[in-house]
Symmetry: D2
């Protein structure tokens, strides 16, 4: 029985290939995590186990997909970054998004019990994620995207930390706390935390304040902060002028697989983070740490 | 700290809204399931447990997302169908694809242990899926898509059944079996199965031969096979002329949630399947069976 | 000198193929025609020469591109319709839009002098048009699009006719006329026209009230307005079940080229227009009038 | 009469906004210019009048649309370039393509008679163009695109010059000339031209060998070819770090309108062309020549 009579339906599949030579960010978000965090009794304002689980799942995604350059996570969202010279799945958007989302979901479900040993998943309340792809043409655009997420992390965490202290320690109702915080600026919230609850926001955990950045861990570059070196770091698009042989590409891929995927809670807005890890922008792996 | 300096990066998010008034099919496929089926010792040519797990996960997806009309699965793939009047997620492609893929993955991972109690999942070999959206403007196009998948199921199953009998019972090498089957037509394969291994292909399990179709289970319509009734069934786009009130829409959604999601292994190419279940094309729920 | 070093830039060309089996409407609009109509002293509220020029250019476009089914024009806009089974330029959006826009522009510029013999074009004030493609999956969607444009024509023409009579005959300022018309309904405008200026709007020219519809002119079908015939006319997608041989396709294309492109100013909202011209929806040419 | 009943059809218009921060190239091509050049007796291999007409039309397009950075033309094609920070028409692809195509077509038709005074256009043979938009994320990509077109110009012109000399002066048939040229390299063609027809290809007109590049004509920058200056010129994306006030933007737009649009036939592959005209990549107008 031939299938040719029906095969014309394949012509309805439309191309969704992303533009070459752009940074690809796949951002995934937890679906209905507000309800889900209630269901599984996540602690407010931050549940360390839930964040560690997110990071652990993201780490596994980066191990499974060596083309990924880095990832940044906060709350129930994670952004995964592909380099402009990435050719994975011919840069088809649905394929990239669905693969990341599915891989993340699988690890999250699998690892759940290690992080929440006392509250096993229930079939009617499984954690799921949606995702989308966004393209950024320049290094500046990419770094601004990452900065945007990290600033957002800070803004939300300061708000949430203040709010939940007002509710949990201050005994205020959600509505009253929300009302009082309306229109306040950062210094107001710092002041509330300190004067009422004796909390210095600066002493909060870095993972809460900065979120989590994941990257392959090569030896840090010595930062010589001369103007030239800095210009060099920000030198967009070094990769465009480097033609790599097949052997080199394979060697790089091997190094990526070997490298440890680090999880750090550091500033990714300033230049230093990027200058010390030139492989993030060049996509050329650094040296594996000697203890490997 | 304001985030406005970086917020411009949101402008790089491009619209991926699908065309209104088209059927949306989300097809998902197992990633690397050839290797995975070896790893977890799936039986050849068909592993009933693996198929039942796929169906069970798809059933859960249909329960979680009442907007889904139906689904069809074969091997490690599943096609989920949204109606032309579906407005879920404003018809954004990435959102639809990633939600289906993530929900399916979560249920598949969660249910695994029930179907494979003796071979638990290993963290370096988790089952994952990718997916894509395709739009079909007409009922004919949609039905031809479904027919395409079911014919494909048949072609592959006949081939695989013959191939694995030649290998498992006939003691042939994979290469020899492949070589002998090259260029054969259906009747040749039926003949090999019958004359060499005493197998009548017609007696194979329907789930293997026809795949699995999932739909919400209302009372079947009496089929009066008059020309008029048939024309009526194939009457495209009845829904375009029906304006539903908000109350009706909510009542429909409630009925969809209440309805059992049936799993059947039947012909979906001929008209009968569709004539008996007019709700599939009209998106107007039927009557719940009286025993509910 | 080989060009291979640079040829990679072709990979940046992205597919813009429209979905198969949808109606394609290319709508073009005059750019800056408000200023242009002042510059060349178009009469208000309607300049018959300008409308006739638009129609003549659109007629030439339909002659040049036999795949076009029909066109509808009002003021400085024109909508051109391709059938769902159209394969022109592989249905690439840019190619379809740019070809229509360019062909229309060329004819408009070329024919200008015949319609405006006393006001030749000036190089710094050439008439130009932009365009876009929109897809409609169903006959109902297409007809509703056409109805939308014709209703818009009526609304604008009634307003403009009233406004310009108030200004030109009533000696009111633009601002005063605008102010008085704010919030009025159709009957108010009819009343103003009749009571103040003795104008019965119904007697206005059909081309002003109804716009212009262009189509290939075959012999009209006898309208037998039985419920069955009407259902038949609205029977979506007859074409999906008709497989045409190459010979038939060529014969059809020949008939399309031979047929006169009619310009009519008639109601295209009601069924009658479509029932009498079944070729519009079926894309199967009718009989050429016998006097041809 | 309200139009709301039909207005839903607007929802079928899909977004075609191009990615921010990419170079946009709109390439237009003559439709059926092979036939058209026969019809109007274009000279082979190059018709100077036809090229001058193309350039004149392109020049007018650049005057009408000050957002255009530059253009490059060869034969019956022209590429128009918008800067990554261009916001014209919100970067909607159809709008950009159709506007360029229509404006070019209008000027081409209008100017025809000045360049071909003896062969007026005929209504059944009007010159028309199609077009498409391509996005390039980096300066390197854009320059490689421009180089690709100029290399193509050279390759085609050398071939055509040789071919038509063999036919016109050598009395060979088209087929024989084509046959002999099959597989030849540049030096072979140079040799044929020189040895048989006494033609030194280097002495051919620059417009034939290099095509035509159009740009706004400010005072050339002194080229100081130090490594630093060159790095500076190729310094991608200077514009990303410059925030311009509304006043500055208006001043720039004014300068662009004032500047003469130059037509040159020069090498655009090497750095020099770009180093001398930094405004091409920076989108910051230079100084108007003092004689202005």
């Amino acid at each position: 029985m031939a299938n040719s009579k029906y095969e014309y339906v394949r012509n309805f599949e439309q191309s969704d290939v992303l533009l070459p030579n752009t940074w690809i960010v796949i951002r995934i978000d937890g679906r209905g995590f507000h309800k889900l965090s209630d269901k599984y009794h996540f602690q407010k304002p931050n549940d360390r186990r839930a964040l560690d689980l997110m990071n652990s799942a993201a780490q596994a995604v980066m191990r499974d997909i060596p083309d990924l350059i880095m990832a940044y996570g906060v709350s129930d969202e994670f952004s995964f970054v592909f380099h402009p010279n990435c050719q994975l799945f011919e840069r088809r958007s649905s394929k990239l998004v669905s693969t990341i989302v599915s891989t993340f979901t699988a690890h999250y479900a699998f690892k759940w019990i290690s992080f929440f040993p006392d509250t096993p998943l229930e079939p009617t309340f499984l954690p799921t994620f949606d995702g989308r792809a966004v393209q950024y043409p320049s290094v500046k655009n990419l770094r601004d995207y990452m900065s945007w997420r990290q600033v957002d992390c800070h803004i939300n965490n300061l708000y949430n930390t203040t709010f939940w202290n007002m509710v949990q320690k201050g005994g205020m109702s959600n509505q009253d706390a929300e009302q009082e915080l309306k229109g306040t600026v950062s210094s107001d919230k710092n002041e509330i935390l300190f004067s009422r609850y004796g909390i210095n926001y600066n002493n909060e955990l870095e993972i809460f304040k900065k979120g989590s950045v994941l990257f392959r861990d090569y030896e840090l570059e010595q930062v010589k902060r001369t103007p030239a070196s800095i210009a060099n770091t920000n030198d967009d698009r070094k990769w465009e002028n480097v033609e790599l042989s097949k052997t080199q590409l394979e060697k790089h891929q091997k190094l990526r697989r070997k490298a440890n995927v680090a999880i750090a809670h550091v500033d990714i807005i300033k230049d230093e983070f990027w200058e010390q890890r030139p492989w993030l922008l060049s996509n050329i792996p650094g040296r594996l740490p000697s203890n490997k």
